[in-house]
Symmetry: C2
Subunit: 321 residues, 2 copies
């Protein structure tokens, strides 16, 4: 068995090779540039862990893991275009460095490259893996579209937001685990539990992310708090606050979002605290985390095999508050 950290190191080395031909350089250099930034490679590692949960690591897991990571990076390149983001991890985004057309096309070809890695797996697994990969890929696009849609909508409910977040981020985590499990020969029932573990863990992570942006310790969190509030981002916190606030509080919130006063972050946080949004968010995160862990418990393998996945959950939901 490999620990979560073992897999992070092993996949990092495996993935650091070249993924594209030399030519045409203007098509492939942007992809090399984007992939060279490194990262934790959470999704491919989840594929490997989902696989080793059931059996020794299957060689095809590395191909599927690579496909997942390339697909994820393709979405980041295109999302950065849509969000007009200029920086990612402190580096110029692809469309800023190379122009829109090149970012568009090098994203397209990165997605195709993902499918090329997928096509390398043993034929007996291909249909099932490809079907899950396709469904997930399309759901990720749906999540991105809903995220764009929500920016223009006033009446986004918490349920709709959770649906959007599930599609945009959680289903790829869940499917990464399940694709590994399929290669490990897992039963349908075990696959379903593992998928549900990943999906709920992803939502818990997103709730935490929203929470930390408002209430996190800037020293531990590594960045100033209130970024989402300044941008009027429709986070879990804001959506719930708009649902539970008194009419007067709600009016103040909406006015603050419109007027953007200098002390907006402090004023919004004061309302959040008056509405107990912080405690609510911690409870919500715990609810999804416990649901996730319940599905992990339900998987019919020895507890010792589940250790790496518990490490993963701790890693994702570790940030203190």
């Amino acid at each position: 068995m490999h620990s979560f950290k073992d897999f992070v190191t092993a996949f990092g080395e495996h993935f650091s090779r070249k993924h594209f031909p030399e030519s045409p350089v203007n098509l492939y250099a942007p992809g090399d540039y984007f992939l060279s930034w490194g990262g934790k490679r959470i999704r491919p590692v989840m594929c490997l862990m989902g696989n080793e949960l059931f059996d020794e690591v299957h060689p095809d897991s590395w191909e599927v893991a690579t496909a997942v990571e390339l697909f994820h990076n393709f979405t980041l390149i295109h999302d950065d275009i849509m969000d007009e983001a200029t920086l990612r991890r402190g580096m110029e985004t692809v469309h800023v460095k190379y122009g829109l057309n090149t970012a568009l096309l090098s994203g397209d070809v990165m997605m195709i490259r993902a499918y090329e890695y997928l096509s390398k797996i043993q034929p007996q697994y291909l249909h099932r893996i490809l079907t899950l990969f396709n469904t997930t890929a399309r759901e990720v696009c749906e999540g991105q579209q809903l995220d764009i849609d929500f920016e223009q909508q006033d009446n986004v409910s918490l349920d709709h937001y959770i649906h959007m977040i599930s599609l945009k981020t959680s289903v790829l985590l869940a499917a990464s685990l399940e694709m590994g499990a399929i290669l490990g020969g897992a039963s349908d029932g075990n696959c379903r539990h593992l998928y549900a573990f990943g999906k709920n863990l992803g939502i818990a992570f997103q709730v935490q992310d929203d929470y930390l942006d408002a209430f996190g310790d800037p020293e531990k969190f590594g960045k100033a708090v209130g970024g989402d509030i300044r941008q009027n981002k429709k986070t879990f916190l804001l959506l719930h606050a708009l649902e539970v606030a008194t009419p007067a509080q709600k009016e103040t919130l909406l006015r603050l979002m419109q007027d953007n006063p200098a002390d907006k972050v402090e004023q919004v946080l004061a309302i959040f605290k008056a509405c107990n949004i912080d405690a609510w968010a911690r409870d919500l995160k715990d609810k999804y985390l416990q649901t996730a862990l319940g599905h992990l418990d339900a998987i019919a393998v020895r507890e010792v095999r589940k250790e790496p996945l518990r490490e993963l959950a701790e890693f994702l939901i570790q940030r203190a508050y």
Copy 2:
């Protein structure tokens, strides 16, 4: 056996159903809009014909044909963004009607949808078809990038241009035929000949397209001649003219391209004719057409089965001049 026209009609009906879910409407409506314009659907019909060349039509051919057509339309949506095209077939392009972000994302999801159709075929064919589809898809992106690159380059040779055109347009025609042939149980040798038929036919078609834009009969061609010349497009004709012109003619050509005088089309055409570019282009087109037909001849099936493919070649290379 079905004629080329039979297949055009049959595939048109088959393809006219809905290809996307209802929701999110902002993600899927642009795809429905773009696909609703219809068209000859040459590529999917080539897949069906490549299949029936060897056997009765295999049900999976319809899935692969649909995947090919969706992939082709995805490339058109993204190419229109890159080319900043405002109209296609007289209709507003997707990014003009719906905005850049929606065009980008609805193109992405159309490509994924293509892979969803591919994944429906019988598992024993999936690996081989998926591998060819992936290679071809990546080559189409390479061709698009080379086309963009060439716009900025002064010294594009005819060989490089043919390489670009092969990637950008011919390989998808060739692969459509071959994927059908694979489903028809064709041998590797027959597959190779059929692929070469499609690839050379595609190049012949592109030579003809460039020729007609300069020398075509406007009444038969359906549009005014000289569009490529006005835009300084690097066509077969211009590239060859720059190779064979006298120093004085070459200097005049380059000056005309830079100065854009009112009678530019007439002056460029006069140089083209003085250099016998028109006869050269007809010969070049014939060379590729004959090479294509030679590969069709070499395929080891009865001549009567090849009739629909000869009809296709006539349809593509029929336009009088």
